[in-house]
Symmetry: C2
Subunit: 252 residues, 2 copies
């Protein structure tokens, strides 16, 4: 790794491999919560807690992309990026990603109202997700775009997840349309963003910013699973007001 | 509780008791991490992790108060509130709260550079603390002020903590100046803010905002301890890049 972080300008190929190395180390495919999910070891209420909390993340994605759109000065960039908003919000006839995520949550047995009210989500989820909005609002435009590059890694994780959810939780099979759509959307989006970042990170300092933004985004995804894991898997405790598993008592 | 949340305007005394009820339910004196601390059951590295992470919270307090100051239209309010910034940043001759917190961290055996660099703090700490800046920046001014009302509850917690840290961790005794100062500062600050909030929350809706802001602030404090507890006490794992206890391995 050290060689990647010295002060010399990297070639686009070298920058790409430095970005990929961050995914290998820090992307949330390595998080034990996902590992338990893929081994079929999460309980039904734990999957509900996951669907409920992750809804909050899904719900801000078009807002995040609209912030990026609002900061983009190049019409060609905006034309390419706006696809993401349509993918998530839908076109008014076909459901977008947010509605598909609601379908997944319904397949776990949650009520639509319970999900979209965003009550019962963990404060830790809220803070981590809001940190993503903060990042794309306040850091440089390059960093805002680079923070999307976790999509480079998402196809493999989603393909595995579809397979394992079908295997271990067949009652969820009707709710997987979100992931099926992402199998093609994420690689398209990642290709565009990766090409843009490698082209526009023109100094070693800018390349460092792009790498840092991807690391920060990995932290944001990881922290969401930490919050879930601690509240619902390890003998932790959801804070007052959060979703509870049946039979679970508040901290005494 | 229900009676406190109906739609009728509360008297100042009733609003105060509704605010105090939130503290009884949600303030972080009830958090198991603090309970372990007060029972002397935290290890030395766990106390280091606490001092290191909580430093990030301390470091933003004067920024938080400057945001409130920047939103205050009444010179008398600003004169009262600016005391907080001096308390934390010092007057240039006597150390303020941030420097005193560094002294506490040094007493746990951390390096000053390690502390003030803010490297090694948990992403969960960073997100929760930044949520406090977000609250005082974006919500109504009344909510920004009301979010400080956790200070109503802090004197009792600090008095207990000083006693128990001296008892269980006598090697920390030289580092307790921060808490000693807060024993008098916090109640002064709380008295002013409580009087201001009960006077300025003039409709039931505004009283509801004040109660909600205090609840949100309790969540922010609680989530910081959840992050610590999960990473360093329960069999969790600090994320890549965070402070590690000796002998602790990253997630495989």
């Amino acid at each position: 790794m050290t060689a990647l972080y010295d002060q010399e300008l990297m070639t686009p190929a070298k920058l790409e491999s430095a970005l990929r190395a961050i995914g290998a180390e820090r992307y949330h495919h390595r998080h034990p919560f996902h590992q338990l999910m893929h081994e079929g070891k999460l309980t039904h209420p734990q999957l509900q807690a996951w669907a409920l909390n992750r809804y909050y993340y899904q719900s801000i994605i078009p807002i995040k992309d609209a912030i990026i759109l609002s900061r983009a000065e190049d019409p060609a960039f905006r034309r390419a990026w706006r696809k993401r908003i349509i993918d998530h919000d839908g076109d008014g006839t076909r459901p977008g990603g947010i509605e598909k995520w609601i379908q997944l949550a319904l397949a776990t047995g949650l009520d639509r109202e319970e999900v979209v009210s965003e009550k019962g989500i963990l404060p830790g989820t809220r803070y981590a997700v809001n940190a993503y909005l903060d990042l794309v609002s306040k850091r440089t435009f390059l960093e805002a775009v680079a923070s999307s590059l976790t999509e480079i890694f998402s196809r493999d994780l989603i393909a595995l997840r579809i397979d394992r959810l079908r295997q271990h939780y067949p009652w969820l099979s009707g709710g997987l349309a979100y992931f099926e759509a992402r199998l093609t959307q994420a690689p398209e989006d990642a290709r565009f963003a990766l090409a843009w970042v490698t082209e526009h990170a023109r100094t070693r300092a800018e390349q460092g910013l792009a790498l840092g933004a991807l690391r920060a985004k990995c932290d944001i995804l990881w922290a969401q699973l930490d919050a879930l894991h601690f509240a619902y898997v390890e003998p932790g405790w959801p804070p007052p007001g959060a979703f509870r598993q049946p039979g679970e008592n508040p901290v005494a």
